[in-house]
């Protein structure tokens, strides 16, 4: 891909100007390389606070890569190199003075495959608050656990077996447990990488409801392969293709009136 300025970027930046909500995450000219291979090319996007932003695009286009830049999860991949600027609340998160571990405590992540710790349900949720010293007493910790599980609408199902292993839950319950675990550290931003890909429609619906609810407190970024899901849960959508951010804007606008041919082809199912 050549490096000439993308007209779309300029066009959608005007959309962003009209956006009612302030910017939470701002990315400018982000390039990501795995070794010699470039996975993201010049990605610039603004993500509004307390809203759901969806990343869509064909497989391998770099959605997860970009998501993982926002909480610096890519630092754990030895071959990965990130260039450009990513700011949260105007603060550069790749600033050497910033501790990536602290960053991850404020930018929670829910993974594609439910990955509860092989520990009790209670310990799964309590782990984050414990290591960050978020509770002063056992009672406070109990409260955090209950609150998080309630928020993840899992409380009613597990309140009588908090001591059972988290890995003994069903797939959908496990994913909600992972969400509760993320909520428990009270992050500002929640990153979700295809959180519903392993779930049945009922569990998916519950997690979508959950996102609608969490939106009032958290900034949520979700990667999804389901157009319907993106349309249902998100306010803003960004479409990636071959490492390029092709188009971004209000979800309704992207789905009803895409400006780019590639976006149009993708959302109408012409390729992917």
């Amino acid at each position: 891909m050549d490096m000439r300025p993308d007209p779309l970027v300029m066009m959608t930046s005007s959309v962003q100007d009209q956006a009612p909500k302030p910017v939470k995450v701002a990315a400018k000219n982000v390039n990501v390389y795995y070794g010699a291979k470039q996975a993201l090319k010049d990605v610039s996007v603004d993500i509004p606070v307390k809203a759901v932003t969806a990343f869509i695009g064909p497989s391998g286009c770099g959605k997860s890569t970009f998501l993982r830049c926002i909480n610096r999860m890519n630092d754990t991949v030895a071959s990965c190199r990130v260039e450009g600027l990513i700011q949260i609340d105007g603060k550069d998160i790749y600033d050497p003075a910033l501790d990536p571990v602290q960053l991850r405590a404020r930018v929670g992540m829910v993974f594609q495959k439910p990955n509860p710790f092989p520990k009790s349900i209670y310990d799964n949720v309590a782990y984050g608050p414990r290591i960050h010293g978020l509770s002063r007493s056992k009672a406070e910790l109990d409260e955090i656990v209950e609150h998080s599980l309630r928020k993840a609408s899992l409380w009613e199902e597990v309140k009588d077996r908090l001591k059972d292993s988290g890995t003994g839950l069903s797939g959908g319950q496990q994913q909600r447990l992972c969400i509760a675990r993320t909520i428990a550290i009270n992050p500002e931003i929640i990153l979700m990488d295809e959180p519903c890909s392993a779930l049945d429609p009922i569990a998916t619906a519950r997690i979508e409801e959950l996102m609608a609810e969490l939106r009032s407190n958290f900034t949520i970024i979700i990667v999804t392969h389901s157009m319907q899901q993106a349309a249902r849960v998100s306010q803003r959508t960004a479409f990636f293709h071959l490492g390029i951010l092709v188009e971004k804007g209000e979800t309704s606008q992207i789905f009803t009136n895409p400006t780019d041919k590639r976006t149009q082809d993708y959302i109408t199912g012409r390729f992917g």
């Binding site: 909480n71 571990v101 993974f111 292993s165 992972c178």
Partner: protein, 576 residues
């Protein structure tokens, strides 16, 4: 990104057919190869299982008798005159007492009337030199036993013990004697005249034996002559063969010697060892004195035969007779040999135990695990989780893998050069043994631990990092606990390896004959496999039995360790 709706699937590509001859042939071929593979597998399994079974049964059948020991259980007079002649009554005096004499007196009571010096020596030889040891402990614990008669087990010597355990040295008894027998005296060199021809069969047998020996000898001569041996060198053998032939042909009384089966006559409560026999009379030496010279009715006297010639046995006829006598009085008992586990090594097989070696092994392994586990696990965690991937760490990795393949004797040489010669640590000490074995198993533990760490799914790591755990927290809170069963399994297998290791310990002098059970890390000690090696080298049959018994103990410990590691693996089976 291709539009799959456009374009026909090429029709030239064939499809699997159910009924065509070709596909049937292919199917048959596949079934055949599967059946063949299965057959190979079963054959391999049968071969390994049968080898294993043969090995185990051989070891168990040899080793199990080693766990039992025969005792003479009889009335013992705890004679104050022998134990504490000055009547001091102090523990030192009691400890210094001659308890062997007490044991010998008890034996003399069990078979009275043996006065001849040589016979007396033979009889006392049945008892172990440590026969009085248990008695000493009893008296020391309870001095009021002095002067009393107690029934207690007295340890038998190893040869007596082996004789009682071996079935092929059993005596054959012929009790259906046809004539009445009359002994000429009750002790010494006597003649027994028999009214029937009870010995005719035996004489015929001996003659047949002589003929057999002569034939074997002649065959040997022919073979040698065929190979071109000179006439002079064969003259001796020829003369021997001729003599055997002549003896077989003769009708005179037949002489028994240590190369033929032994025959004894039990008559009037005594036993006579036959020296010469004719069909109707025998001459021989009395072993156990007869009560009278009265005529013994047919069936009241016996002929006893030891088929194995005296020369091939460790017990001669006299000792064997005494032992049979004790056995027939019901004074011999076989008991589980607890002392095997509570005694150190000894030159006397019946007194030798494995406690010294067991304690030595435990001390050595303590040093090994104390060094290996922390160093190995920390090295594995660092290499697997934290070390930068560069040339240097790669080199270290390769070297660790190579170390695991270095022959164990090399580690022994290293230990000798470094720990003994350079650092001047004591020879034969568990400390040095432990250090050497630690070097030996460290690579195994590091490799096993790294494999265990690597097998923890990355999703767990990501989950921990995702909630803001640091790398170190993720490793120590989540990865390490999940890897622990694998690490433990690797460690136990490494320890089992160390427990069975002999060669490197020989190099650092852990092969000495050590009687005392070690109590510290720097005291001279030996370990179980080295003890086995030492015993297996000794000629006494009793030590062969001990060797097998010690191997059983070693195997039991190894099986136990492996069992624990399997149990750990099962218990903490992957739960994600």
């Amino acid at each position: 990104m291709t539009d799959i709706t456009s374009g026909e699937f090429p029709s030239s590509i064939r499809r699997v057919e159910f009924d065509s001859a070709e596909s049937k042939a292919r199917l048959r071929g596949r079934y055949k190869s599967e059946a063949r593979f299965k057959a190979y597998g079963i054959v391999a399994l049968v071969i390994t299982t049968s080898f294993l079974l043969a090995l185990l049964t051989s070891i168990v059948s040899r080793g199990v008798p080693g766990f039992f020991q025969n005792y003479l259980v009889t009335e013992v007079l705890v004679d104050a005159a022998k134990i504490d002649p000055q009547g001091k009554g102090t523990p030192e005096a009691l400890r210094a007492g001659d308890y062997s004499a007490v044991a010998r007196a008890a034996l003399a009571d069990a078979i009275p009337g043996i006065n001849e010096r040589q016979l007396k020596k033979e009889l006392n030889g049945l008892l172990s030199s440590g026969a009085g040891d248990d008695l000493r402990e009893m008296v020391l614990a309870n001095p009021s036993l002095l002067g009393q008669r107690i029934r207690t087990p007295l340890l038998l010597a190893d040869q007596a013990d082996i004789f009682l355990k071996e079935t092929e040295s059993a005596v054959r008894v012929f009790a259906d004697t046809r004539g009445s027998a009359t002994p000429s005296a009750t002790t010494g060199d006597i003649t027994i005249l028999v009214s029937g021809n009870d010995f005719a069969d035996d004489v015929a047998l001996i003659k047949a034996e002589l003929v057999n020996s002569a034939v074997a000898l002649e065959k040997n001569i022919a073979l040698r002559a065929g190979r071109g041996a000179s006439a002079e060198s064969l003259a001796d053998l020829k003369a021997q063969a001729a003599e055997l032939r002549q003896r077989a042909a003769g009708t005179a009384s037949e002489t028994l010697d240590s190369k033929t089966a032994s025959r004894l006559v039990a008559i009037n409560g005594g036993v006579v060892k036959v020296k010469e026999m004719t069909p109707t009379s025998v001459r021989g030496d009395v072993i156990v004195p007869l009560t009278t010279t009265a005529e013994a009715a047919p069936g009241t006297w016996q002929i006893r035969v030891y088929d194995r010639p005296e020369a091939d046995r460790n017990m001669n006829d006299r000792a064997a007779t005494f032992l049979e006598q004790l056995k027939s009085k019901g004074l011999i008992e076989s008991k589980f040999n607890w002392a095997f586990f509570t005694r150190g090594d000894s030159r006397e097989a019946e007194l030798a135990g494995i406690q010294g070696a067991l304690v030595g092994s435990i001390l050595t392994l303590l040093v090994t695990i104390g060094l290996c586990l922390p160093i190995g696990v920390l090295a594995a965690i660092y290499l697997e989780e934290f070390a930068p991937k560069n040339r240097f760490t790669e080199l270290i990795e390769i070297n660790i893998n190579n170390l695991a393949a270095v022959p164990s004797i090399v580690f022994g040489l290293l230990g000798l050069a470094v720990f003994l010669n350079f650092f001047g640590l004591p020879r034969s000490a568990p400390l040095v043994g432990g250090l050497v074995l630690a070097l030996l198993v460290l690579p195994t533990i590091i490799i096993a631990s790294r494999a265990a760490l690597k097998s923890v799914p990355p999703s767990i790591r990501e989950a921990a990092l995702g909630v803001g755990a640091s790398h170190q927290q993720a490793v120590f809170h989540h990865v390490l606990p999940l890897a622990m069963p694998g690490i433990m399994t690797g460690t136990i297998i490494g320890m089992a390896h160390a427990l069975g290791e002999t060669a490197p310990l020989l190099m650092i002098g852990m092969i000495a004959f050590i009687v005392d059970v070690p109590t510290s890390l720097t005291q001279a000690a030996t370990v179980l496999p080295v003890q086995i090696f030492l015993w297996s080298d000794l000629p006494e049959p009793a030590f062969k039995m001990k060797t097998a018994a010690a191997i059983l103990v070693l195997l039991a410990v190894l099986f136990l360790m492996n069992g624990i590691s399997i149990w750990l693996r099962k218990k903490f089976e992957r739960r994600w």
